[in-house]
Structure formats: structure tokens, C-alpha cells
Symmetry: C2
Subunit: 384 residues, 2 copies
């Protein structure tokens, strides 16, 4: 340890600027190298596209990362550091590959119609289908009814992508489809709409629920829930097509889907809404809250505030879509009471016991989530 607070900081300028010039040179080389890597991966993507292989291959990715972690350790570099850098490179590649062509999985399908294809999620699916070589038509409210009827009745695939509350009505109003046409919806609750689709069309039916917003960078690693309707063989090509786009397709029954969504979506969004309502009423200076927030607390605030930059109607629909959700929220309310009573009665032991029980319920995931959140926090940045 040398020096004290009175030492002249200017004396450091010479050696510092020399080192910084060297860092600049390294960064320029880094840029070149990253560009070369992106180019190579994009060539891999082209080969995969030509041979009908999915762009996202989790197993190969794991093997590759493991090898590079070992290499990093041999070099005395943190394996986590190298893994983060490589994963960021891979994400960049997925983003690029979103816009490339995909192998068409159903060469003889005939035209595709997306009902509500001007909406954001409908437009995303329409675009992915176009990139996969299908002949895609969009039907909207302002489409001439006769044209709409002709398009729908001739299509090999009809995708319904309209607001939740309109879905059943739109399905019921469909003209008769081709007998072999596949009828699909993208709604975020499934029980009701599956029944409506099965009643409206005697042919193949599949329920889909893309578990992401229409503005994702890439479909890689995103989840699409798939609810079997009728004739699963006839929709297998579409599931494969979606996997080619990079998404993970998880099959689930309509009832299980809706129960899970009450917890994953309705409960979460309600909770965030109530939290935001409370924060806004308390009206504490937000900039001061942020100035006092370390990355973890900033992240908590981000997760609340981000909701309110989005579409209120959509969230109302998601929260209220299933009557079961409101019953679930009522139970949530009771547990909220229970937690508050525990604290107001000063029952430290009771709190600690419940805390441990909840920890047991999360099992090994609690620790894993703590680790994951630390990794993420490292990316939470207070300066941009």
C-alpha cells in the first residue's frame, strides 16, 4: 500500500493513457473476431436451414459451452465469464437467424390464413410462416366478408389470433373449412376455445399459446404451449416448424394449461398490478428510490414498472380470462392476510417456520434461483 489521499492523480495519466490505448487495440481486434464468429454461425444457420435442422440445439450448445469452460480453466480465466460471453454471442446469432429462411415442413399445405394477422402476435406468426416458404394471407375486421370466406374455406391452415375475449365468437363465425385443414389458435387460455374449435371444425385442431410477447428478439428458448385437439398426426408438421424457429414446444392438456396459466400469468400480473397501485399511491420520489436501489432492488422495481408500459386491455384480459383465476386470487388474498397477521403479531418463530416450509416447497430450485439471479444481476446496469 503506497501513498495517501493527497497524492497527485495527474501523475497517473502517462501510464494510464498508454494502457488505455492498448485496451483500445484489443477491443478493435475483439470486434473483428466477434464479427468473424457471427459470420461463421450464420453460415451454420444456412446449412441447417437447407437441411431442415432446428436453429436452436440445446444439447450441442451444452457440450460446446462445457468444452470452452474447460479451456477457460486451463487458461486461468473464469469459466462463468467465458460462458457468459459465448452465450451472448449465441443470442446475437439467434437474433440474426430469426430473419433467415426456414425449411418448409409441409410442402403441400396450400395457403395459410391468419385471422387477426394485423395484430402483433398474428403478424409475428405470419412473418415466420412467410420466412418458412408458406403462402400466407391475412384476414382482418376490414377484409371484405366474401374475400375472407373464400380465403378461409380454401386454406390448409387457419390460425386464429384475435383478442382473448373475441376468440370464441370468431371461431363460431368461421365458414366451413376444408375437411383436411388444420385449425389453430394462439389464445392464452385454452379450455373454452378448444371446445369452440372442435365444435366448429370436424378436421384437425391444435391449440397453441406462445408464452412470449410479439416483440421478442428471437424465438430461440421461448416456450409455446401446445394443447392437442384432434388428429395430432395432422399438426405434427406445425410443431416441427415451430421447433425449427427455435422455440420449445411443451404439450399440455387444456385444463392443466389453464390451471398453470392462472398461476404463471393471472396471479403474477395481478400481483404486479396491486404492487404498482400501491407504489403510485404512496407517491415516494421514484428517482430517490432508484438512487437508493442496488442492482437487485432496481431489478425488482423494473419488473413492476415494465408492466405499465404495456397494454392495459391485454393484461385485464389475461387476468380475468379464466373464472378459476379470480378464485385463485381470492385464495392469494387469504394468504396475504395470513402473512400480514403473522408479522403484525410479532410471531418471529411462525414466520421462520413458514419461510422454511416455502423453501422446502421450492426445494433445490431456491438455491438455483439465487445463483441464477446473481448471474442476471451482473447484467443489471444502473447507468444506461
Amino acid at each position: 500500500m503506497t501513498g495517501g489521499p493527497l497524492e497527485d492523480p495527474d501523475a497517473s495519466e502517462g501510464p494510464l493513457s498508454e494502457l488505455r490505448a492498448q485496451i483500445d487495440d484489443v477491443d478493435t481486434e475483439l470486434l473483428d473476431l466477434l464479427q468473424r464468429r457471427l459470420d461463421l454461425v450464420s453460415q451454420v444457420g444456412e446449412v441447417k436451414g437447407r437441411h431442415g435442422l432446428p436453429i436452436y440445439a440445446p444439447a450441442r450448445e451444452q457440450t460446446m459451452i462445457a468444452a470452452k469452460r474447460t479451456l477457460a480453466e486451463q487458461h486461468g480465466i473464469s469459466p462463468d465469464f467465458i460462458e457468459d460471453i459465448l452465450r451472448r454471442c449465441m443470442r446475437e446469432s439467434y437474433t440474426q437467424e430469426k430473419n433467415m429462411g426456414f425449411t418448409r415442413q409441409a410442402p403441400d399445405l396450400g395457403p395459410v390464413v391468419v385471422v387477426g394477422g394485423a395484430g402483433r402476435m398474428g403478424a409475428l406468426f405470419a412473418r415466420m410462416l412467410v420466412l418458412s416458404g408458406y403462402d400466407v394471407h391475412v384476414v382482418e375486421r376490414d377484409t371484405d366478408p366474401d374475400d375472407a370466406e373464400t380465403l378461409v374455406s380454401e386454406a390448409g391452415l387457419v390460425v386464429i389470433s384475435v383478442p382473448i375475449k373475441d376468440t370464441v365468437g370468431v371461431v363460431r363465425a368461421l365458414p366451413p373449412l376444408r375437411e383436411d385443414a388444420l385449425l389453430v389458435d394462439l389464445t392464452s387460455t385454452k379450455t373454452e376455445v378448444m371446445a369452440a374449435m372442435l365444435a366448429a371444425h370436424p378436421g384437425p385442431v391444435l391449440g397453441l399459446h406462445p408464452m412470449f410477447g410479439p416483440d421478442v428478439d428471437s424465438l430461440a428458448k421461448q416456450v409455446v404451449a401446445a394443447v392437442p385437439g384432434r388428429d395430432p398426426q395432422a399438426s405434427r408438421w406445425l410443431v416441427e416448424q415451430i421447433r425449427l424457429w427455435g422455440a420449445r414446444v411443451h404439450e399440455v392438456s387444456a385444463r392443466d394449461h389453464d390451471a398453470a396459466m392462472s398461476l404463471i400469468q393471472a396471479q403474477r400480473h395481478f400481483s404486479t398490478f396491486a404492487y404498482g397501485l400501491h407504489l403510485a399511491h404512496e407517491d415516494h420520489d421514484l428517482t430517490e428510490l432508484l438512487a437508493l436501489s442496488s442492482p437487485i432492488y432496481r431489478l425488482e422495481l423494473i419488473m413492476v414498472g415494465r408492466l405499465f408500459a404495456q397494454d392495459a386491455e391485454l393484461y385485464y384480459d389475461i387476468i380475468t380470462a379464466s373464472p378459476d383465476s379470480l378464485v385463485l386470487l381470492q385464495r392469494y388474498h387469504e394468504r396475504f392476510d395470513e402473512a400480514l397477521t403473522l408479522l403484525r403479531s410479532g410471531d418471529r418463530a411462525g414466520f421462520v417456520t413458514r419461510f422454511a416450509q416455502i423453501g422446502d416447497w421450492f426445494g433445490p430450485y431456491a438455491e438455483r434461483f439465487l445463483t441464477e439471479s446473481r448471474g442476471l444481476l451482473a447484467h443489471a446496469d444502473t447507468t444506461r
Copy 2:
């Protein structure tokens, strides 16, 4: 668009393995380059340490990033991509620099005593002070009382780092300090303990609240709240010392601090506890919830589950530390009721109006948080 689902995927193996070998070579070069960058930055750190310059310089960081973004654009690469890579490099450097020496800001201070220095936060501060060249002693419950008294009464700085509920008692039980000694605490509520410190010691007093856990990778970008007590001139060196470690020091009054902490900490942790309590009671299969969760929903679950891998007693203390917090939680409860009533009555318009009002309260931050969360989500990884 070529080929169909029946094309032979094996035909792709030749060109694919060739490309993958090239990617491997690039990755090895990348590793070398990243290592060179870390070495150079570590040399910068040494120069800075020798000249008493802080390791974290946000303004310089911003300028450097801006320059590299421009360079990326000129190369036709995404500036966000390059920024993320560089920020990850910088974080790695901060982590390394945490363990290097820092210039001692108070050369004539005399010994430092950390009361509770075997606790995790106390140990972190003790270590940082040792790395900064101070003569640090730890006093714990099992320290011989006479030794403890001698150490404390001779110290130039006494840091109190004991559980919240014990802090006031420990402060009151302190032996008389040197008249010029600086008395500091690290407790997460400030009103009571500041009063106790000011009463116990007629000399310089400063309240600190590190807004992070003791297991952070680096202090860079972390926040330390600083509550002025008595004779701020006498504690300026410590504030500068903490800045040298990389943290942001935010000055705030004891009352404002505690009001903000009710919202930032008590409210958030209570909310997470109630959410976890509810989830555990609902007892839906957690692995299925995760299988159906896209990155954003996984992140929401992570933020809940991570709490329960931590210390229940600590969170009980944080939530109940200030009587104001329980009153705040009561108001939160009322807003929770209000939100639920709105939804149960099917008041779509009312929900949309409130939603907009909350959005107004968040102001430009809502949009900014949405953007930030997208960047972060990119790092949320479903495979590790």
C-alpha cells in the same frame, strides 16, 4: 427455400463440422484476447490503486462504450451486442479488482475495530479495510470483554455490524471511545440507531447502509446509503474509501432513508413472502410451471424463489425493523383489496384507468424499465 421434411439431415454433417471447427478456432483466439484485455485492465487497476483513483469511473466507462458502439456500427455489428460484451468484460475486471489493494484514505487513523466482524457483512467490510491498508481488529461475542474494551477504546474507527435487533443494545454497551474516533454502523434502518450512536459517542458519527448482500462479486455499482450523524468532515475519508472500492455513496437523512427502505425492502420482501406462501399452498408441480415459463415468467419465479434460499431471520428483521413498515403494509393490503374488487366486479374501464394512472406515476421509467428488462431477459437462461 429448398427441401422438405424428408430431406436427409446427415447430408449436412460435412459442411457443418468444418464450420464448427472454424468456430472453435475463433473461440480459442477469443479466449486469448479476453485474457489480454483482463491483464491490461488489471494493470490499469494497479496504476489507479497507486494513485488513489477509484476503480469504478462511470463517466469514462460511458465515453468508452459510446466510442465502441460507433465502431461497431461502422463494422455493421449491433452496438448493443458489443456493449454487452464489453460490460461483461468490465464486470470481470471489477471482480478481479475487488481483491487488489486500495489506497488508504486515512493514513493516520490508527486501529479499526469491527464489532460483529465475524458476521458476513462485517467480514466483508473488515476485508475491504484490510485491503486498503488499515490495521483491522474484530470483536465478537466470544472476545474476552477486557480485550474488547481495550480494542474499542483505542480505535480510530469503530464499525458496528450486528443483527438489526441487537444494534442499539450493542451501541449502548460500548465503552467510551477515543474523542476523535469515528463511530459507524451498517444497519438497514437508521432512525433509532443514529440516535443511539449520537448519545453513546460525543465525537464523529456516520450511519451506513450497504444496499447489497455480503456475497456480491464486486462493490462496483453497488449502493451504500450514508446518513450524516456528527462532524461530516471527520468521516469524509471513509466515504471516499468506499467510493474507491467502487460503490456509489448516496447521502440521505435517517427519516428519508427509513421511509424509502420501507418501500424498497420491507414492502418488497413482504410481497415476495406472501407470494411464495401462496405458491407453496397451491402446490402446483413446480417443474411443470417452469416447463411452461418463457424467460420472462421464469425470471418472475426466480425473483420469488431466491428469497427462500436465504436467511429467514434476516428477512423477518428487515420487514419488521421499522414500525412504519407495518403501517405501510396495512395500506398495501388495502390497495390489494381495491385491485381485487376492481377485477371481481368486472370493471374493465376502471382497471384500464388505474393502469394508466400507475403508468403516469412511473413516467418515462415504465418504458425504460421495459427496455432494460428485455436486455436482461436475454441473459435469463433456461438451460443451466
